[in-house]
């Protein structure tokens, strides 16, 4: 804690200085637990909204809410999962209300979106002849987005974000068994999509090759 500075006693205290010790502790803990997940949340928001500026709003809102209700975060549980759930709820409240066809895929939009914020990250696995490795980022992204939302969501949370089935079940408010079967079915669909791309390149996708 800061020691009182005798030369400053006549000045007006800034907001920061007048924070209580508890508030200060809360801030520190929040930074340690919550802020470290900012990149993951931003990516999740991008996937949901497919629009960088909406994604920023969504993340901003999520952190505001999370900070306000940080006391209700159960210490020792996965803070990332907690934040994801808040973001998802915000998303539903804000964006889904006016969307009539949430399951509809706009491939042009995906393509535009992907090109508009494409990373410079180079692909190191191009040399492999395996058909999986021939797939482009954009194609995998498109295949994922062609899935019905309930499947896409669990695959994303499991494979990209690394949440456990229990955490996912809590996030999507369904039993673990449902998460398990959605992943099973979703992956089947996804594989079929990816194999479709692979065939386009003339790869033999049979097991027996």
């Amino acid at each position: 804690m800061d020691k009182p500075d005798p030369t400053r006693h006549t000045k007006t205290r800034t907001k920061k200085e007048s924070l209580s010790r508890e508030e200060h502790q809360k801030q520190l803990e929040f930074q340690r637990e919550a802020i470290v997940h900012l990149n993951a949340l931003y990516n999740y928001a991008l996937h949901l909204t497919m629009n960088p500026s909406d994604a920023e709003d969504l993340v901003q809102e999520t952190y505001l809410k999370a900070y306000r209700f940080f006391n209700s975060f159960e210490r020792g549980t996965n803070c990332k999962a907690w934040l994801f759930k808040i973001l998802k709820n915000n998303y539903i409240n804000r964006f889904r209300k006016n969307s009539k066809e949430p399951g509809k895929v706009d491939y042009d939009l995906i393509k535009d979106f992907y090109h508009s914020i494409k990373d410079t990250r180079s692909d190191t696995s191009e040399t492999e002849s395996d058909y999986f490795h021939s797939l482009l980022h954009e194609e995998v992204y498109q295949a994922l987005h062609s899935l019905p939302e309930e499947f896409r969501e669990v695959i994303q949370l499991c494979d990209i974000e690394g949440f456990t089935y229990e955490e996912i079940a809590n996030m999507v408010e369904s039993p673990i068994g449902t998460v398990r079967s959605r992943l099973y079915r979703g992956r089947k669909l996804l594989r079929a999509q990816l194999e479709g791309y692979a065939k386009k390149y003339g790869f033999n996708t049979n097991n027996s090759q």
Binding site: Q27, K118, D119, Y165, R180, Y184, L190, R191
Partner: protein, 85 residues
């Protein structure tokens, strides 16, 4: 365990989410069934593909800054972690 039953378990097994019993039975079946073994390998690959091919973007710096300001402390350390991770 037959192939049909094993097929349903492949997905959860890739995630390490089978119960101990299921896992044992599943592995036993894999040791006897080439087809399911290949299927299992493919499932692992598919998971990896999703992980590797979906680009993870960095949050814009302006967003990081404004969220740091929400909690007003703005410690240098955390900003560095996020920006240069």
């Amino acid at each position: 365990m037959n192939c049909k039953k094993a097929g349903v378990l492949i997905s959860a097994s890739v995630d390490g989410e089978l119960s101990l019993n299921e896992e044992q039975e599943f592995l036993l079946h894999l040791s006897e069934c080439e087809e399911c073994r290949l299927e299992f390998e493919d499932a692992k690959k598919t998971k990896m593909i999703i992980k590797e091919k979906i680009i993870q973007f960095k949050a814009p710096q302006a967003l990081i800054m404004s969220i740091m300001q929400l909690t007003s402390l703005g410690t240098k350390e955390h900003e560095d972690t996020l920006l240069y991770e």
